[in-house]
Subunit: 334 residues, 2 copies
């Protein structure tokens, strides 16, 4: 069973790109013409069958289709995706089905899948979440059901080791991983995380110490642990500090681009060019919205990894992925 940290680092090396594509779909990220195609399709179906169409199903199909086309555009140059579970849950059962299909599709294309679910609970409940997202569960006829089968999950450590150990157990058994929130990218991260302890540490530093300690038993051949940490690109000083405390943690870095973190900020916690993966969601998913020179739904002269020509919005995403890759690699070489 390959260690998750080793797998992720190998995939990053293969793509020469420490980027993870956040897939947090909202309907208004999709080009108008694409939405219209799905609405037309639903209308046609209604006319043909005389039955009302399940528009939640149409919504879920449109979301998956957009994700699929984004994956098709970049699977050779981006090593992993990070679906944010909230966006799928908000679209109901068919949103969750779109999530399952997205996970499967990305894995089929050789990408790793980091479930951005930020789950947290204790004991058997934490085990239940771990089984749901990175493991499996025994059902009524003694066979097993796999709900999501992601490669890794984000978790919140406010509840202490009781809330982390069950995820580690499943990760260990199945070659999976977890990222514990240490220093989040948002403006109010400091409300709790920057409170100063009587021994001089900040709360996030105490969390980082826990992560380093918890991760010892899951260190791979790469020297990094499958128990990683989330540290936002918006806090480069804290990122340096966090890396000092956690020399073995893989670090998942949100906050690049749209939230204000630069390439240099994003790689502040890397060690010898390694050990981190930088997330971009909107900047990749909605790259076409910044382009006046392309029609998002027209075929372009650019080809994707399968050899097929890319649509305008796919090209915009691929070009943004290449720009981000070069930006991060330049920052790493500086």
């Amino acid at each position: 069973m390959t260690n998750f940290a080793d797998k992720l680092l190998a995939n990053i090396e293969k793509c020469n790109n420490p980027t993870v594509m956040g897939l947090d779909p909202k309907l208004d990220y999709l080009p108008e013409a694409m939405l219209q195609e799905w609405l037309d399709e639903a209308k046609k179906q209604k006319e043909a069958t005389g039955q009302p169409v399940n528009m939640q199903m149409t919504t879920g199909m449109a979301l998956f289709d957009y994700n699929r086309l984004l994956i098709d555009a970049v699977y050779d140059i981006i090593p992993a995706i990070k679906p944010q579970f909230a966006y799928y849950e908000m679209y109901g059962m068919h949103g969750i089905m779109a999530l399952r299909k997205t996970i499967q599709y990305a894995q089929d294309k050789g990408m790793l899948v980091i479930a951005d679910a930020k789950r947290n609970d204790i004991g058997t409940t934490a085990t239940a979440y771990a089984n749901a997202i990175i493991g499996e569960t025994k059902i009524i006829d003694e066979t097993s059901a796999c709900m999501f089968d992601c490669d890794c999950i984000t978790v919140n450590g406010y509840l202490g080791i009781d809330g982390i150990k069950p995820f580690m157990d499943v990760a260990k058994e199945k070659g999976k991983g977890l990222f514990v929130l240490v220093r989040t990218s948002n403006p109010s991260a400091g409300d709790l995380q920057d409170l100063k302890l009587e021994d001089g540490r900040m709360v996030y530093e105490a969390m980082a110490e826990n992560v380093e300690k918890w991760g010892q038993e899951l260190i791979g051949e790469s020297g990094f642990s499958s128990v990683g940490a989330v540290v936002g690109a918006t806090w480069p000083e804290q990122a340096v500090k966090a890396r000092e405390i956690m020399p073995h943690a893989l670090i998942l870095i949100p906050g690049y681009g749209a939230q204000g973190g630069s390439g240099k900020d994003a790689v502040a916690s890397f060690v010898n060019g390694k050990g981190g993966i930088v997330n971009a969601s909107r900047s990749l998913m909605c790259a076409w919205k910044k382009r006046t020179d392309i029609d998002p739904m027209e075929l372009t002269e650019m080809h994707g990894p399968s050899g097929a020509p890319l649509l305008g919005f796919q090209k915009a995403t691929r070009e943004e992925a290449l720009r981000m890759r070069d930006d991060l690699n330049s920052a790493l070489q500086a």
Copy 2:
């Protein structure tokens, strides 16, 4: 729009019982004979149709059926249920369908539903979770989809106000509520929550101050806020302290019974007999397992609120609910 805190307190008063029934189903909570009935049913169906039966669907149906029968046994004496999302997610799509049906069924019987989901994220992502669990989402044809439509949700405040405000906004608009984790019931709660700050406070006390501040704008006629807190019954000293810091917070209290908290411990944060609700999950769901005097699947002489006779396991749950009600009310009068 009635304030959630007011609704919950009214329901508690009507039932004369500050108990919430945690519905965290596992297949091995169900009586063997009940599982066998579902397996026999699946077998019959397979023989009749010649098609394989979807055993994940059978699992989901069995889980919902058990929940439904538990609700039928107690809906006149317990004011709310608290489904723990992890248990349903681990059983796959049909587990989630069982969750949706459980929520709807309990609400139809007049119970309030507290989603124990411990969600946490920032900005638009937190809004997405809020929409999924206590709100609604616009879909492709501009109609709205409701995923769960619970009355209240548990959240984790490690990310600060950015992660709480979106839940508060939806709660305010729709008369819903939230409980923020302050002091969890588990043994390692103190790993982070008991760290001492340089100003002498503990981390959980700082979180409690945030909750009291955040909750000001959602205080109802009862004097309690729809922004509540989770404080475990296993920490009665901290519960007293937490109440001092949060005079307006509704408090959700896990840890009674199976985890070791007594009736007296559980009501430590109540004010004039009010302001808290005590959770029991396994002790209610599996009450039949402690009874050698009843057959869980045989009809008994006891009647439920609808007038129908109760099965053995339903009777055990109802009797345990009555015992717990009396235990809590005695502790409140002491």
